[in-house]
């Protein structure tokens, strides 16, 4: 565009030159031709640029209208080619219509709205320059048209006139529109900046920003949007407000204002005061501000922070501004809540991962195969619930005729339970190498665990040492579920009601007083059922527990079966009771059936 200015200056010089000399026809012709060339260049370039601008944000209708305009304009060339006199009565109304058409096209100035204040003032200068050059061209050709020395007169070419008309009219319209939209452009700039800030706020989640950054953004954006002179932001931490941002105000001033607001009982609510000087309380504080807006950042559940904005003019917070500010605060709340939700879900994800590892550890710690022996049958069942973990069992062949079987349940869940389970397994294998009676084992295990178990954790366990040669077993129970037993001789099913305190509950020598050992002679066909509380505490939809009684009843019905079948009968009955997919706790069940067969010699 600047090129046109130089062209205009050049032309001005030429025009001046032309006037002063007024001599050679040749020179006149030369100037005239050069100027004509320049005019065509100017027109074509301006025409092209205006076309681009006019079609900015075009719709279909505008595109068609423009295409027709170009077509009609080209059609006017025909007039020149066939040498019609366009000033005749037939063509004049048509040309006038074209003029109106141009006027209509001049109403499409959407691009002006997208200019900022600076852009507009710059474009005003340029538009002025174009107008000026249009005028100079026009003057020049008009003046020279009457000159008798000229051989050709281009001013009669309708096409050029129309193009000139279009360029100058559009320029004039653009100039005027820019000029009158200049005062409002600030508002549009503000709006678009607000929009951008909204976008930044809502995008901060994807960008992985922290809450503090979101608050920073809120503080900056609201100050810009409201054009506030002073502001501060209080973050609510554990119910106590904490100032995190300050602008043009000091802490003592904020405390004084806050005290006053407290006295007025204005807390955590949207509050706009556009006339602080009329309020005696605020007047006493002698603050340099006259308007104040308080905007709490809160959801239905909790308050995250409060934003205070101050302005040094009365009525500083009009409805429009307050609406924008409120949109900012609600957007911030949304962003903050979403950030928290994302963090929570990440936490859950981590927790799930941890549980997965715990389950793997747990599974690897449970023996898959049991010794098969002609003395007894054993059948085991173990399922881990997702939430709670910590059941375990293990065995150790002490000698040819003796086997130790341990079952237990670690309180707690996740990794720590799996960890304690591993410890317990270590303790079992370590201590039982020395072959000790179950009560002694419990005492030593308790003292070992006392050093490593956290205070809220404990382990329940039961240890059985079966001696085939003696046809008996020794056992001790440390807070674990009672052992269910079927005595074939007496044809009776009962629980061994023995005393025994869980491991890790008392962590001193006194524990020894809380453990009892029992010896029992077994008969062939006797059945022992060992289980964890996940079995008897399994619940159905009505929240009833499976219970010891039902378990006892099941053994009464099935003791004559093989160990494997007894186990399945119990498990199936348990599943019938709880219904599918209703697992609260780990379930471990072990059925041991003693056999009459003699050991191999």
């Amino acid at each position: 565009m600047a090129a046109y200015l130089s062209v205009a200056l050049y032309l001005g010089y030429r025009v001046y030159n032309n006037y002063s000399e007024e001599s050679s026809v040749f020179l006149l012709h030369l100037v005239y031709q050069v100027n004509f060339g320049l005019l065509v260049l100017f027109l074509s370039k301006a025409f092209y640029i205006w076309r681009q601008l006019l079609l900015y944000h075009k719709n279909k209708f505008l595109q068609i209208a423009w295409d027709w305009f170009e077509l009609l304009l080209a059609a006017t060339l025909l007039l020149t080619i066939f040498n019609f006199n366009y000033t005749s009565y037939i063509f004049l109304p048509l040309l006038a219509l074209m003029g109106f058409y141009i006027l209509f096209l001049c109403t499409n100035m959407k691009w002006v709205a997208y200019l900022t204040f600076n852009n507009k003032s710059r474009s005003l200068v340029l538009l002025g320059a174009i107008l000026l050059s249009c005028y100079i061209f026009f003057r020049f050709f008009k003046n020279t048209a009457n000159s008798p020395n000229l051989v050709i007169d281009y001013s009669d070419v309708g096409f050029l006139l129309l193009a000139m008309l279009f360029v100058s009219l559009y320029t004039l319209a653009a100039f005027l529109v820019s000029l009158f939209s200049l005062p409002t452009s600030g508002v549009f700039e503000q709006k678009s900046e607000d929009l951008l800030n909204f976008q930044r706020l809502s995008q901060s989640i994807q960008q992985g920003q922290s809450e503090a950054q979101v608050y920073d953004m809120l503080f900056e954006s609201t100050i810009k949007a409201s054009d506030a002179n002073a502001a501060w932001f209080e973050l609510i931490r554990n119910g106590e407000p904490q100032i995190s941002h300050l602008l043009n105000i000091d802490a003592p001033q904020t405390t004084r204002i806050r005290h006053l607001l407290l006295a007025y009982n204005i807390q955590n609510i949207d509050y706009i005061n556009n006339n602080l000087s009329r309020n005696p309380g605020f007047r006493e504080l002698a603050l340099p501000w006259k308007s104040m807006a308080i905007l709490p950042i809160k959801s239905t559940k909790h308050l995250s922070g409060i934003l205070y904005l101050l302005k040094d003019i009365e009525g500083g917070f009009d409805r429009e501004t307050v609406n924008v500010l409120r949109t900012f605060t609600s957007q911030t709340m949304l962003t903050i809540e979403n950030l928290r939700l994302i963090n929570e879900s990440l936490q859950n994800e981590r927790y799930k991962e941890e549980l997965k590892i715990a389950t793997q550890v747990q599974e690897s710690l449970i023996p898959k195969t049991f010794p098969t022996d002609s003395w007894f049958e054993i059948s085991t069942h173990a399922v881990a619930a997702k939430e709670v973990g910590g059941d375990f069992y293990d065995f150790l062949q002490l000698s040819e005729s003796r086997i130790a079987i341990i079952i237990g349940d670690v309180s707690g869940k996740g990794i720590s339970a799996a960890f304690h389970m591993a410890q317990m397994k270590g303790i079992f294998h370590g201590l039982m190498q020395q072959d000790m009676p179950p009560s002694e084992f419990m005492k030593q295990a308790n003292s070992a665990l006392s050093r490593c178990l956290e205070r809220t954790s404990f382990i329940t366990s039961a240890l059985y040492i079966i001696d085939y040669r003696m046809k008996g077993f020794m056992f001790a129970r440390a807070g674990h579920c009672h052992t269910l037993y079927y005595n074939s001789m007496m044809d009776d099913v009962f629980y061994f009601q023995t005393e025994g305190l869980g491991l890790g509950i008392i962590r001193d020598k006194n524990y020894a007083n809380h453990i009892r050992e029992m010896y029992y002679d077994y008969n062939p066909e006797d059945v022992m059922v060992i289980y964890t509380d996940g079995i008897v505490e399994a619940r159905n939809k009505a929240n009833e527990e499976y219970g010891e009684d039902r378990l006892l009843y099941m053994l009464k019905q099935t003791y004559h079966l093989e160990a494997e079948d007894i186990k399945w009968a119990i498990i199936n009955d348990l599943e019938d009771f709880t219904g599918p997919g209703n697992l609260y706790d780990d379930q471990t069940l072990m059925v041991i059936k003693f056999k009459p067969a003699q050991p191999k010699k």
Partner: protein, 112 residues
């Protein structure tokens, strides 16, 4: 789970309502960890509406047991449902903790 506290002279009466599982045991732990509670010499726990206690819930009581004993604070449970009492018994806690049938009995034992 709802935990309510009522204070009568030197006694705290704590009422447990609902199920004491891994998540609600955190609440109980907070209540029992409150330093204020050490000012009282008796803590009576009303278990009438305690329907279930998990190992985590038991763990909380166990972890505070020694502390209360050292401070000579009596911890007495009463109105315990059979199901819950059974859990205490299996674990052997009935021998370590005082579990009585009703409020009157709890009151008498507390004042001994």
């Amino acid at each position: 789970m709802k935990i309510t506290q009522e204070i009568k002279d030197s006694t705290v009466i704590m009422t447990l309502d609902g199920e004491l599982d891994a998540s609600s045991s955190v609440l109980l732990d907070e209540e029992l960890s409150d330093p204020e509670i050490m000012k009282y010499s008796k803590i009576l726990v009303d278990c009438q509406n305690l329907h279930y206690i998990s190992s985590a819930g038991l763990g909380v009581f166990i972890s505070h047991l020694q502390r209360f004993e050292d401070a000579q604070i009596k911890l007495i449970f009463y109105n315990m449902q059979d199901k819950v009492r059974n859990v205490f018994e299996i674990l052997g806690l009935d021998l370590l903790m005082t579990i009585v049938s009703d409020y009157e009995e709890a009151r008498t034992i507390a004042n001994e």
